[in-house]
């Protein structure tokens, strides 16, 4: 768990400015910020434990990605890739030649459909887009040695603790 309640007050003292600084952290780590923004971010990170943690996490993630990609590139055999791409392009070119008359007919049909749809849009009110159903979700549970389970029922999430089952 990444949250330490004992630091909540401490974090609250410096939370002003976090929302402005967080989007810039990645760019700051990549050294892509101008001098003014860079100084602003650096000053905030020095004072704010939460943003300092975030910055450390970003840096660790970036490093892990770099190492992972380098390992893959070093071990991967890419010699067949060029041949495969060229072969695929050739197949597509032949298909295009064969399908030209069909494509022309389809273009006419699409144009007609477009005109029809355009007329419909012109004469009828726009359809309402249904909002997505948003539900509660459990991201992580630590039962601290007890038994328990998580259940999703409709929009409601349920965490069930079997009290007294700790070993």
């Amino acid at each position: 768990m990444g949250y330490d309640p004992s630091r909540a007050r401490e974090v609250d003292l410096v939370k002003v400015g976090c929302s402005e600084v967080i989007p810039l952290l990645g760019a700051w780590l990549d050294r892509e910020l101008g001098s003014a923004d860079s100084a602003r971010v650096e000053g905030h990170v020095m004072e704010c434990p939460a943003c300092s943690d975030r910055m450390a996490l970003f840096a660790a993630q970036g490093e892990a990605l770099r190492v992972s990609m380098k390992t893959r590139v070093d071990t991967e055999d890419l010699s067949a890739l060029t041949r495969a791409v060229l072969a695929k392009a050739e197949v597509r070119r032949r298909r295009r030649l064969v399908r030209r008359p069909v494509a022309a007919a389809m273009a006419v049909a699409a144009a007609l459909a477009g005109v029809t749809l355009g007329m419909r849009t012109l004469w009828s009110p726009p359809l309402e887009v249904e909002a997505p159903v948003r539900v509660a979700s459990i991201d992580e549970v630590d039962f601290r040695g007890e038994q328990g389970f998580v259940l999703q029922a409709g929009r409601t999430s349920i965490i069930w603790l079997r009290e007294g089952t700790a070993r």
């Binding site: 768990m1 949250y3 309640p5 630091r7 909540a8 007050r9 974090v11 609250d12 939370k15 929302s19 402005e20 989007p23 810039l24 990645g26 760019a27 892509e32 910020l33 101008g34 001098s35 923004d37 939460a50 948003r134 539900v135 509660a136 979700s137 459990i138 991201d139 992580e140 549970v141 630590d142 039962f143 601290r144 007890e146 328990g148 259940l151 029922a153 409709g154 929009r155 409601t156 999430s157 349920i158 965490i159 069930w160 603790l161 079997r162 009290e163 007294g164």
Partner: protein, 198 residues
């Protein structure tokens, strides 16, 4: 009379202008401690705000009656925790962590055991949209010797999610990065000399 009215209007005006709570981005959440029983019992009308969530709960668990034992509402800043005492000398702590990209609130919850140890019995992170509820249940209501057959159900409902802070157009480009600094203007070209007339 008129000076009094002016004074009152001034006080109201100052109060409105200086109200710092109006702009503070707080998450409003309510914790409800509910006693659930398997016996047929009329539902507590005070539980009407979470009636649909209790219906969802009742589809999978064989509890038929619900009674509100306690409720507390909180207005919490990010990573500020609120605590509520529960029956059986337990307590629960919640803290909003951050807004998720889809507009929900990620919350942290800790359930503490009975006095005097108050050991953490369970800890969880969950994401909630406005109006939705998460239940933590399974604890016996009261102490181990009581035989009421009721189970404690702790419901956490998000009543209000603060608006996402606006990002100024000049701060970030479409790729999420700040725009590059504007290059310095080239030095002004010297004024053309008037042509000599021979």
């Amino acid at each position: 009379m008129i000076p009094l009215l002016i004074l009152a209007a001034g006080i109201v005006g100052v109060g409105t202008a200086a109200d710092p709570a109006a702009d503070v981005p707080v998450v409003r959440a309510t914790i409800r401690a509910v006693a659930a029983t398997r016996n047929e019992a009329p539902n507590d009308p005070r539980l009407s705000p979470i009636a649909s969530s209790l219906d969802d709960f009742g589809k999978d668990f064989r509890y038929r009656g619900y009674r509100l034992v306690g409720a507390e509402s909180f207005a919490l800043g990010w990573r500020i925790s609120g605590e509520m005492e529960l029956p059986g000398r337990r307590s629960v702590t919640i803290a909003p962590l951050h807004l998720t990209p889809d507009g929900r609130v990620k919350m942290h919850l800790m359930l503490h055991g009975a006095h005097p140890e108050h050991a953490t019995k369970m800890e969880t992170d969950f994401s909630l949209p406005e109006g939705a509820t998460v239940f933590v249940g399974g604890m016996r209501l009261g102490d181990a010797t009581s035989d009421s057959g009721e189970v404690l159900l702790v419901g956490v409902t998000i009543d209000r999610i603060p608006a996402r802070p606006p990002i100024r157009a000049t701060d970030l480009n479409a790729n999420g990065r700040p725009p590059p600094e504007e290059p310095a203007l080239p030095p002004a070209a010297p004024a053309p000399r008037p042509a000599r007339v021979k």
